[in-house]
């Protein structure tokens, strides 16, 4: 009996590696300490009411950001483990099987569980505020999106200690990811982790499109929207067109593995190349899904910190929207080497290059926004300035990669790795950091320490170039991605050593950021104005942090950068625009449905991973019942009385 249990446990839990035991202990301790703190300070009720069941977009945004920073830490540790393994030839730090798991989880976590939630966090924090709305269109759905993402991420990360991690690359190409070559549960964790959080992403896409199209403040025509909001619209449109493809693709892969179907198998008439086509039909737009909002952030940041109107507003809008369309026509450039023939390759090469045009236009727009401006270099602007050269060089190598006949020499080499890290770190991560620093005072009501921020910026920036520039060269020398080790006679040692050093410099940069946050919490440099950067858009017209109802009265918008224009009018001696009388505000009630339903999804996913139908089927039934049950709830909203609004506004020092 005891032996049986031991056998089962050694199969069920991942064993045999000190790293894993360390992680086990870490996870158990962290969870226990969270439970302890909540219990000791009697905070369970508060936690449930204020966070778990909240439908407030600002709090959901904060939860997204916290979760994504945790994931950034996990993905970053993965990255450093890989760099350590590659620091010199013939290293035996990680076994090949672990190396394979780690690059797989690094990729999945960074794109799907770091970039996506950080992006959704910023959407949530600022889109309703920028368009003068009280919340998103579907607040409960919004909370459901978050919890689905969270449960998906937890399920995926669980594979590290239970059952084993996925190990067939971040896009899990079959036949390698099929049962035939990959019988373990890791691949199923991958499928269900992504699937569950993917449903959440899809719903966020729908939610924000409706929010942006239908809930803008009176007077805010489409062409008067802040550029970040435009970029969110572009990104969300891309989400709703691309994510269903991912859902289907992963479902088919799961049906292959679970029911023995033959979509992508080598036998039975399956076609692995179809998976590769399908996954990139999602995967390529996905890249633009995450980068478009970064472009929006840069636009807002540049015009704010140059104290100048954004140059070429309509060019920018056209550029954003055309990128989100063309992004659907380029997927095959990820496999020029599949032997598709010259004409197919030439088509996809050109469609890929075409994307460089609107992207280039954006860069010019930012430059001419700076031209004849008055630029101050606080944290958000600093990250923007770090972004421009990084992204321009990344774009250059992107164009090089798009030249199909040359791509035969770049494909799957470290040249490619360096390229996409350059656009994803230089573009997406720097962009989201800029947004993170920009909106931090609006989220929490105090500023982050500038000096530590500069340290973090320079460490990240220098670390980036030290890490990835050598990878371009080592790629051209013939080093291919995903090699767990290489031999001395390759001549790649020096460059890899430098690259690893760069990786660790970025790691230190991250630690400085963590320290910066802790230090700033202690220092508590309060933002009493609500407008710390002399901002231009509506979110800066209200107090920091934004009150529950966002706007005491509906703002009426006349111009692009309405808040800036208002301030100019007042400066020129004009009167502030009169505000209408306060009215009770209609708000949604909290809901426990999202967390319950997401928990059922988690259990169902876990059951499917281990083929435990006794768990998976009841849990799926739980999902359905929760949904039905919720459909019967009609009492979903309430009003905030005028007195309470008046009190809140007065406490923030605002007359109404």
């Amino acid at each position: 009996m005891w032996e049986d249990i031991k056998d089962w446990a050694s199969d069920f839990f991942v064993t045999g590696d000190p790293l894993i035991y360390g992680a086990d202990v870490g996870i158990v301790l962290a969870s226990l300490s969270v439970l302890f703190v909540l219990t000791y300070f009697k905070k369970w009720g508060w936690f449930w009411r204020e966070w778990v069941t909240t439908v407030d977009h600002k709090k959901i945004g904060i939860m997204y950001i916290i979760a994504s920073l945790l994931m950034l830490f996990r993905g970053g540790v993965d990255a450093l483990l890989m760099r350590t393994q590659l620091v010199m030839p013939e290293m035996e730090f990680l076994k090949p099987e672990h190396y394979n798991e780690i690059f797989t989880t690094h990729g999945v976590i960074m794109i799907l569980f770091m970039a996506m939630p950080l992006m959704f966090g910023l959407f949530n924090i600022s889109v309703p505020l920028q368009i003068g709305a009280r919340d998103v269109a579907f607040p409960v759905l919004n909370s459901l999106s978050f919890w689905l993402f969270f449960m998906g991420a937890m399920l995926f990360n669980l594979s590290f200690v239970i059952g084993g991690s996925p190990n067939s690359g971040w896009l899990a190409y079959p036949p390698l990811s099929e049962k035939m070559f990959n019988p373990g549960v890791g691949q199923d964790f991958y499928i269900w982790g992504i699937q569950i959080s993917g449903i959440g992403s899809l719903m966020t896409g729908i939610n924000f499109i409706v929010t942006i199209l239908k809930m803008r403040a009176p007077g805010m025509k489409l062409m008067k929207m802040p550029m970040f909001t435009w970029s969110v619209l572009g990104s969300c449109l891309t989400i709703i067109l691309a994510f269903p493809v991912l859902t289907v693709t992963l479902a088919l892969l799961f049906i292959d593995r679970f029911l023995g179907a033959h979509f992508f198998t080598l036998d039975g008439g399956g076609n692995p190349m179809m998976y590769i086509n399908l996954i990139w039909m999602w995967g390529h737009p996905e890249v633009y899904i995450v980068v478009l909002p970064a472009f929006g952030i840069f636009s807002d940041v540049v015009s704010t910190f140059a104290k100048k109107k954004l140059f070429g507003y309509s060019s920018m809008v056209i550029a954003i929207m055309s990128i989100s369309v063309v992004s659907f026509l380029t997927w095959a450039h990820h496999f020029f080497t599949m032997g598709s023939g010259a004409s197919v390759n030439a088509f996809f090469a050109i469609s890929t290059m075409v994307i460089a045009i609107p992207t280039g236009v954006k860069v010019f727009n930012w430059l001419f926004t700076m031209y004849k401006g008055r630029i101050s270099f606080q944290a958000p602007m600093l990250w923007t300035m770090g972004f421009i050269p990084c992204f321009v060089v990344g774009g250059l190598t992107g164009v090089m990669l798009s030249v199909a006949p040359a791509d035969f020499q770049f494909h799957n080499s470290y040249f490619l790795i360096a390229h996409f890290h350059q656009v994803l770190i230089g573009g997406v991560v720097f962009g989201y950091f800029a947004g993170f620093y920009y909106w931090w005072p609006k989220m929490f009501g105090f500023k982050l320490d500038e000096k530590l921020g500069r340290w973090a910026f320079w460490l990240w920036n220098i670390g980036f170039y030290v890490c990835f520039m050598p990878q371009y060269v080592v790629g051209l020398m013939g080093m291919t991605r995903r090699y767990s080790t290489y031999s001395w006679d390759t001549g790649w040692f020096g460059l890899n050593l430098v690259s690893t050093i760069g990786g660790f410099i970025m790691g230190i940069g991250f630690l400085v950021q963590v320290w910066q946050i802790l230090y700033s919490i202690k220092k508590m440099d309060k933002d009493t104005t609500g407008d710390p950067w002399d901002g231009r858009t509506l979110e800066w017209s209200i107090q920091s942090p934004a009150p529950l109802y966002n706007f005491a009265t509906d703002p009426v918008v006349k111009d692009v950068d309405d808040w800036w224009e208002e301030k100019q009018r007042i400066k020129a001696g004009g009167k502030p625009t009169p505000k209408p009388a306060l009215q009770p505000i209609h708000m949604p009630k909290n809901s426990a449905m999202p967390i319950i339903k997401s928990t059922f999804w988690f259990l169902a996913g876990f059951g499917f991973v281990f083929d435990w139908m006794w768990l998976a089927l009841p849990a799926m039934a739980g999902v359905a019942i929760t949904m039905l049950f919720y459909s019967f709830r009609y009492d979903t909203d309430y009003y905030i009385p005028v007195d309470e609004i008046r009190k809140t506004e007065a406490a923030a020092g605002r007359a109404v």
């Binding site: 239908k214 269903p244 289907v248 198998t265 399956g270 076609n271 359905a624 459909s631």
Partner: protein, 210 residues
């Protein structure tokens, strides 16, 4: 999906500024729009499944082919039943607009009965095929067939449960702006499934036996 959405809206947003009452009208319009967007995603979902089917439908790997397997009388019956149910769901909506709750519920029940017969026929067809040895694991053709048609069947089944829930809500609340929106949405969903079925019928069954 959209029917479980809750939401905060300030009075009279955006273009609909002149409405100015309690904002309920806006909210229902928002939810309707959300549902349209959901239908777009569902379209893409089915589109991907159709594409998969088209790529794989000749890969029978020595197993039965479409023309050997499909029995058209049953399929044609399914088609007529589903088309009729779409019509009856339309009648239900008409009754709703006239404020006729009984008629609305009655036609919904007819729609449910038709939908349930459709699902029953489909399940019977599947079971028979499996009995003949045409399983999902037999060939790529059958994998994509069962997945495509089964996904449609699953959508229909979800719709049935949803409709039953709405009937209960109608008996409790009557015809209100909220239930009106919910009925509009389910009928939209039902028509959508009908359109998808027409594609299934043409691309899978007609092309299969021809």
């Amino acid at each position: 999906m959209a029917h479980n959405a809750n939401h905060a809206v300030s009075q009279g947003h955006g273009h609909d500024h002149d409405h100015g009452h309690d904002g309920h009208h806006d909210m229902e319009a928002l939810r309707q729009m959300g549902f349209w967007l959901f239908l777009i995603t569902d379209c893409i979902l089915f589109g991907t499944l159709f594409a998969t089917y088209l790529v794989l439908h000749n890969n029978t790997a020595g197993g039965p082919t479409a023309s050997e397997l499909f029995e058209m009388p049953g399929v044609i019956a399914e088609t007529f039943i589903l088309l009729t149910s779409s019509f009856t769901s339309g009648l239900a909506v008409l009754c709703m607009h006239k404020g006729n709750r009984k008629g609305l519920i009655g036609w919904l029940i007819v729609t449910i009965i038709l939908g349930a017969s459709f699902v029953t026929l489909e399940v019977t067809e599947f079971l028979k095929m499996i009995d003949e040895g045409a399983k999902i694991s037999t060939s790529a053709f059958l994998s994509s067939f069962y997945t495509l048609v089964g996904t449609h069947g699953l959508h229909v089944s979800v719709g049935l449960v949803w409709m039953i829930a709405l009937i209960i809500q109608l008996t409790r609340h009557g015809i209100t702006p909220v239930t009106t929106r919910k009925i509009n949405i389910i009928s939209l969903y039902w028509h959508f499934l009908d359109v998808v079925w027409i594609f299934v019928f043409t691309i899978v069954y007609m092309m299969g036996v021809m």
